[in-house]
Subunit: 145 residues, 4 copies
């Protein structure tokens, strides 16, 4: 089975810019593999907050992360600026799979790509809660046609 | 397809203890999904260093991370102590797949499980380098019989 | 003015053990200067939680950090185990100055020392709240006689 | 002794923009006190690299951090954009004191201010090394007249 090649910017719907930090680089002088997930989390939650779909302190329901993953194609490092592309790959009743591509500076091929499966839960009961209304509408717009 | 249930401690070969930190908890009061990867990295590299298989400043070859993933079953949070179980699931010519289970305090069922694919590369050329000798021997001992 | 020399373990009252992580090391191969503050935060809040003096999700009042500082004497690095010594240096009506010494493995001289000024505030109003009762008693026991 | 009030943007010479991350917020819903130091480190080292004064992998000498500190005036939180102001407050033979002000979004009064004392050392011997030439010239330009 041939490995899946990295996506290009055209494969993503929305982009968010994230600056790197000194501590992102590990002893090998490149962004440590853990940092990528912090960028994923930042891109997804930043988009949700900006769209008015999440207020972490008060929203009745929010997404709990049940699975994540990342494939690493090329090094990134401080002081690069990272452009995080977002798309929704699957949208279920109460779950959503976000995919994120990390593009280094002006590059058009992803240096890393990952995913993030959120299950929406009720804040108090932490039981699954259906994705409806504005939230579902916004997620649908993040799907590629 | 039924989801794979969490492993028990018996499914892992070596264990390393890692203390949690205040900053591991996010606004939801539990360990943020990114932190799990920092624990994986710490468990794998800590074991490699302790076994004399990695000196990050000088080793001729070292493992570059090409893919990682994690499934989250249950919350962990500061000030929990995490027991990270280690096993090798696949051993190729120059690549190795580590699997890591995170067990909270005295619990015997994993709260999260992940993997980490390392490709060994030459420090200077960053070209794949075969896993041989003591390193291969140690990895084989981490495989479950 | 001669610089203040590092403290020894005898200069601290309580100790907490914290394991280092792979990502604590930066490109220079030692613990990045930022990490020390994460260890301070972990030591102080871990002690507060263990003593029943803080439940971050529900306590009526909690300590807001208004000033911190650190002096660095010697390198620490992953996979060191850090013993964090705690003492209270000043106790005001609603503020407390914790001092923390970081001791590497079995060493008896601090590799770094810092402080942390907490002002206790009411959870809702975020206005200063007097340190009283069990909390004040516990802080007094952390003062050196 | 009256506390020193926060600086305004006019009190700083150079500015660098840093995006916040989801994980910067702790359980209290604001940027954890540790993160400020990561922003300081990022602002100072980013400026040094951009000016050609530091190549972390190869520079003959680099700055070791011997003391840091921070005063916290007001909350910042994800997804704020932080503007980090830089100035040099003291320049010795081989040491330099950077001061950094963190300004939230468009605010003109610092939400936090800190410092960072670097002693320049030789990469191999780790002995103090005089600050000379372009590096001294650049540091002098960061001093306020």
């Amino acid at each position: 089975m041939a490995p899946v090649p990295p996506s290009s910017r055209d494969d993503y719907v929305e982009f968010r810019q994230i600056t790197t930090r000194w501590m992102d680089n590990d002893i090998y002088g490149h962004m440590n593999n853990v940092v990528h997930y912090s960028l994923f989390d930042t891109a997804v939650n930043g988009w949700l907050i900006e769209k008015g779909l999440l207020d972490p302190g008060t929203s009745d329901s929010f997404g709990l992360v049940v699975e994540t993953g990342c494939r690493y194609f090329a090094e990134m490092k401080f002081p690069d600026v990272i452009n995080a592309g977002l798309r929704v790959a699957k949208l279920g009743t109460s779950s959503v799979r976000f995919e994120i591509g990390l593009f280094r500076n002006d590059e058009t091929t992803a240096s890393a790509e990952g995913f993030f499966v959120h299950v929406y839960v009720d804040r108090d009961s932490r039981r699954p809660s259906p994705i409806e209304g504005d939230r579902r509408g916004a997620f649908e717009k993040l799907m590629r046609g």
